[in-house]
C-alpha cells in the first residue's frame, strides 16, 4: 500500500510575513524614520523648552497678558506649569547674570499660581453645598400656555453627603395613576436634556430622574410646555447635621 505524503501547513509563508514585518519596522523606526519638519514647543529638547518658557515670562513681564502667557505655557505640555516656572526661576536666581530672567519667571509663576488658585477656589465654592445659601431654594413655577400638568407638590429631600443632587419627578394622570412615557425637557445654559417617565419602573411608571449640576439654573418643560424655571441644586442638612446636596422631588398632576 502506498502512503500519500502528508500535507504540511505552509509555515514558510508565516515565517516570511514575520520576517518582512520585523525588517519593515527596523527600517521605518530606526534606519529611515519619517522626516519631521514641523514640531510644537512640547517636542523641543529640554534646554530649548527652558528658553521658550523664559521668553513667555519676559513677554508676560512686558504685556501683563496672563491669558496669553497661560496659552503659550500650555504648548510646552508641563504637568505643573507653576512648578516648572518656579524651578527655572530658582536656577536663574543662582546666577548674577540672570536676575532679570529670574524675576520674570518668578513673577509669572506667582501670578499664574494665584490665578489658578482663585479658579480652583471658585469651582470649589460652586461645588460645595452650603445650607446657609438658599439662593436656589425654590424653583419658580412658570406655566406656559397649554400646560397639561400642574405642580402639585415639591420637596427638597436630603439623603446623604455622598449623594449627588437629583431632580426626581413623579407624574400622575387625571385619574391619579402614574403616567409613563411623558416627555420631559430640562434646559440650561449647558444645553438641553430630554428624557421620559417610566425609565425606572421599579420606582414607578410615572417616575423620572436627572442629575443636576450645582450652580446651573434649569427650566423644566413637560410635553414641550414650560412648567418651572430657576430650578437649581440646593444645599441642605442631613439628619446628622452635615451639609449635602438635596434632591428636588416634584409631583405633577394632569389637568382634569
Amino acid at each position: 500500500m502506498i502512503r500519500e505524503p502528508q500535507q504540511k501547513p505552509p509555515f514558510f509563508l508565516l515565517t516570511g510575513l514575520v520576517l518582512g514585518l520585523v525588517l519593515g519596522l527596523i527600517v521605518a523606526w530606526m534606519i529611515w524614520p519619517p522626516r519631521v519638519n514641523e514640531v510644537s514647543p512640547a517636542n523641543l529638547a529640554e534646554p530649548y523648552q527652558e528658553q521658550y518658557r523664559l521668553m513667555v515670562a519676559l513677554a508676560y513681564a512686558a504685556s501683563s497678558d496672563l491669558g496669553r502667557a497661560q496659552a503659550r505655557l500650555a504648548l510646552l505640555g508641563d504637568s505643573d506649569p507653576v512648578r516648572a516656572l518656579s524651578s527655572q526661576a530658582q536656577v536663574a536666581l543662582a546666577s548674577n547674570a540672570t536676575q532679570r530672567e529670574a524675576r520674570a519667571l518668578a513673577g509669572l509663576a506667582e501670578e499664574l499660581g494665584a490665578y489658578l488658585a482663585s479658579q480652583e477656589a471658585t469651582a470649589q465654592a460652586v461645588n460645595t453645598p452650603n445650607p446657609a445659601d438658599q439662593s436656589g431654594a425654590t424653583p419658580i413655577e412658570s406655566v406656559g400656555e397649554g400646560a397639561a400638568y400642574f405642580l402639585d407638590d415639591q420637596q427638597l429631600t436630603c439623603e446623604s453627603v455622598d449623594a449627588p443632587p437629583y431632580l426626581k419627578i413623579f407624574i400622575f394622570d387625571a385619574n391619579h395613576n402614574p403616567q409613563a412615557g411623558v416627555a420631559l425637557t430640562l434646559s440650561s445654559e449647558e444645553g438641553e436634556a430630554q428624557f421620559t417617565t417610566g425609565q425606572r419602573p421599579e420606582m414607578s411608571p410615572g417616575y423620572a430622574e436627572y442629575p443636576l449640576t450645582p450652580g446651573i439654573a434649569y427650566s423644566l418643560s413637560i410635553q414641550g410646555v414650560q412648567i418651572l424655571t430657576g430650578l437649581q441644586a440646593s444645599a441642605c442638612e442631613t439628619e446628622e447635621g452635615e451639609a449635602a446636596w438635596g434632591s428636588w422631588l416634584l409631583l405633577f398632576n394632569a389637568e382634569e
Binding site: P10, F12, L13, L14, T15, G16, L17, V18, L19, G20, L21, V22, L23, G24, L25, V27, A28, W29, P33, P34, V36, N37, E38, V39, S40, P41, N43, L44, A45, E46, Y48, Q51, Y52, M55, V56, L58, A59, A61, A62, S63, R72, L75
Partner: protein, 123 residues
C-alpha cells in the same frame, strides 16, 4: 509559483505593512527637536514674544541674542529675516494690529541696529 517566490512575496508584504505602520500609523515621536523645526505659527509667536519683550526694554542686542533660538544649522543666521517671516505670517493669519505694530517695530530696530541684516536683492 515556487515556494521561494511565495516566500519572497510574503516577506515583501510584511515589509510594506510594517513600513506603513511605522511611518503613517505610529511614527516615532520626537522629544528632543531643535527650534529650527518649529512649525511656522510657533516660530511667529516666538518672534512676537521677542517683540513684546523688546517693547519693554528697547534692548536690540538682547533681542538679537534671543533670535539665535530660531537659527537653523547650515542657514545664515539673520534675525531680520525671522522677524519679516513672522510679520508676513501675522499679516496673513489675522494677528491684531497691535501685535503687527510690535513686530514692525522690532523689524525696524533690527535693521537700524545692523543694516547688513537687510536681504540683498537677487539679480
Amino acid at each position: 509559483m515556487t515556494r521561494y517566490t511565495l516566500f519572497g512575496i510574503t516577506i515583501l508584504l510584511g515589509f510594506i505593512l510594517a513600513v506603513y505602520y511605522g511611518w503613517v500609523v505610529r511614527p516615532v515621536s520626537v522629544n528632543d527637536a531643535s527650534p529650527a523645526l518649529l512649525r511656522q505659527d510657533f516660530r511667529a509667536d516666538y518672534v512676537l514674544m521677542l517683540a513684546e519683550a523688546y517693547q519693554a526694554d528697547h534692548n536690540v542686542e538682547r533681542a538679537v541674542a534671543a533670535f539665535a533660538f530660531l537659527g537653523s544649522q547650515g542657514e545664515r543666521y539673520n534675525p531680520y529675516v525671522f522677524a519679516s517671516e513672522a510679520l508676513a505670517f501675522g499679516t496673513e493669519n489675522g494677528y491684531s494690529v497691535a501685535d503687527l505694530e510690535l513686530l514692525q517695530e522690532l523689524q525696524l530696530a533690527l535693521l537700524e541696529f545692523n543694516p547688513t541684516f537687510a536681504p540683498t536683492p537677487t539679480p
